[in-house]
């Protein structure tokens, strides 16, 4: 059951090593939008255009990068939901009626959505702060396609996209940060206002309109034209490093002023995760936030960030069902989720 994407679900033997500052930066992501010049854009394209584009991109990428193409209409609703939970596709993509396909590289760090709002959306995602590594991988993949087709491009406006909000570079870089220190010292708003001043936007972790949960924040660029790609990546890296510094200072404040209170919160969170018999995904997110903080400041020593990252992704509703290979009602899901987490943290 659900073999189409089972290989994507992380397991303890293939958890990726974490990049720089990964106790604060959960992940970095780059997304690049491209359209082909001689096919109507997504809004006006016919079913045959959509199918043709999938075949074309497949013929170009196949054999160059190890991975798989998944046609969304061949997937079960749960599998589509799971791709969303793994941040490999966008919410709008899984409900499209046109033929759509996603290429996912082995290991899941590179992907290409075909027939999203733009013909192609290349994406690179990695844990920790590592935009230079990610950008070379994403543009290498984009390069394979651009060597073989003509992208919609204009000397004044750069790469042309369906929506004006992506025109120019077509690039959106995001960094997901865990900032419990700033939440504690009430500095979040100040930092976020600062980000806004320099053209960055801040949202909750599951994208536009979503609320901020588990002290997790997503920072990304608002503007896509008028700068070089590498300058933008440098700017967002600089901002992330500045926020990391403030977060580290705030964590020092916690450790001197409220150590016992936080130690208590952290160890209670560990205890609940190791003992709970039923647990919903929202509670997991909040407990993981405390635990992540505990690992970051060295209070919790026997749990790694990779394990926490894995639990964060796998305890989402669709993923937990795929992990156990069966459809589960909400109540059963909460029981199985608790079972998986106990096992993963080495409890009974």
């Amino acid at each position: 059951m659900h073999d189409n994407i089972r290989w994507l679900i992380p397991s303890s033997d293939k958890t990726l090593p974490c990049g720089e500052e990964s106790e604060i930066v959960v992940s970095s992501r780059i997304r690049v939008a491209r359209n082909l010049e001689n096919i109507p854009f997504e809004l006006k394209m016919k079913q045959t255009d959509a199918e043709y584009l999938i075949g074309l991109v497949r013929s170009i990428i196949d054999g160059k990068v190890n991975g798989e193409f998944l046609n969304l209409r061949d997937l079960k609703p749960l599998e589509r939901e799971s791709l969303l939970e793994c941040h490999l596709v966008s919410p709008g993509f899984i409900t499209k009626e046109k033929p759509t396909s996603v290429f996912i590289s082995e290991g899941g760090n590179l992907s290409v959505m075909i027939n999203e709002e733009d013909h192609l959306r290349f994406q690179g995602i990695g844990c920790g702060l590592n935009f230079s590594g990610l950008s070379s991988e994403v543009f290498r993949l984009e390069g394979y396609v651009s060597d073989n087709v003509s992208f919609a491009y204009n000397d004044n406006y750069g790469y042309l996209t369906s929506c004006l909000t992506n025109i120019g570079t077509g690039m959106r870089a995001s960094v997901f940060m865990h900032l419990p220190g700033l939440v504690f010292t009430n500095e979040v708003e100040k930092v976020l206002k600062g980000a806004l001043q320099i053209g960055m936007t801040v949202r909750g972790i599951y994208g536009e309109g979503s609320e901020i949960r588990g002290s997790l924040f997503q920072i990304s660029n608002q503007h896509t034209i008028g700068f070089k790609e590498e300058d933008l990546l440098e700017r967002i890296t600089k901002l992330a490093k500045m926020i990391i510094d403030i977060e580290k200072k705030a964590r020092d404040v916690i450790m001197t002023k409220a150590r016992s209170e936080f130690e208590d919160k952290i160890f209670r969170s560990v205890a609940i995760l190791k003992a709970a018999r039923t647990i919903n995904s929202m509670e997991v997110l909040n407990l993981l936030s405390a635990l992540r903080f505990g690992v970051g400041v060295g209070i919790v020593k026997d749990i790694t960030l990779q394990t926490l990252n894995e639990i964060m992704v796998l305890s989402r509703p669709a993923n937990i069902q795929l992990y156990f290979g069966e459809m589960l009602e909400e109540q059963e899901r909460d029981i199985k989720r608790a079972e998986y987490i106990r096992k993963r943290l080495g409890a009974n």
């Binding site: 109507p40 709002e117 073989n148 491009y153 750069g158 120019g168 206002k193 700068f227």
Partner: protein
Amino acid sequence: MLCDDCRNKPASIFFKEVLPDKTVELHLCDECASKRGLLVTKKLSPQEILQKLLRQKSAQDEKIICPNCYMSLAEFKRVGRFGCNQCITTFDDHIKHLIKQIHQSDRHIGRKSSSGTKKGFEIYKLREDLKNALDSEAYEDAAKIRDKLKDYGIEDA
């Protein structure tokens, strides 16, 4: 350091403005920076700016039509998305200011698109032809197509 304006609260914002004849440097607290309009507390997102701008309609909008995909400027303002790569040239005079307002720039200085070839299309078409030739057992045609694919460096077809 205290705020240059109120001389009361600690300065948290450094503001520097380079004018043709002089440079102004100010250290301000949040409140005074806000009073001077230097602190943006709520900024519209590009999406919100776009929606606001697209609401400005004109009677001419129905008459300006993309010759390639037949999208009218009126339709573009309704859906907020282009129909093809030629819409932008067709609507240029009417959308130039939108790009500037959304992104604070209307000039691309990033990566340039390589001249672009149609190689991919040709290879893809040849592969489709090869599949059809094999399906219909036209092996001579298939061999010819394979040769053409070899010219493109494709050996495994």
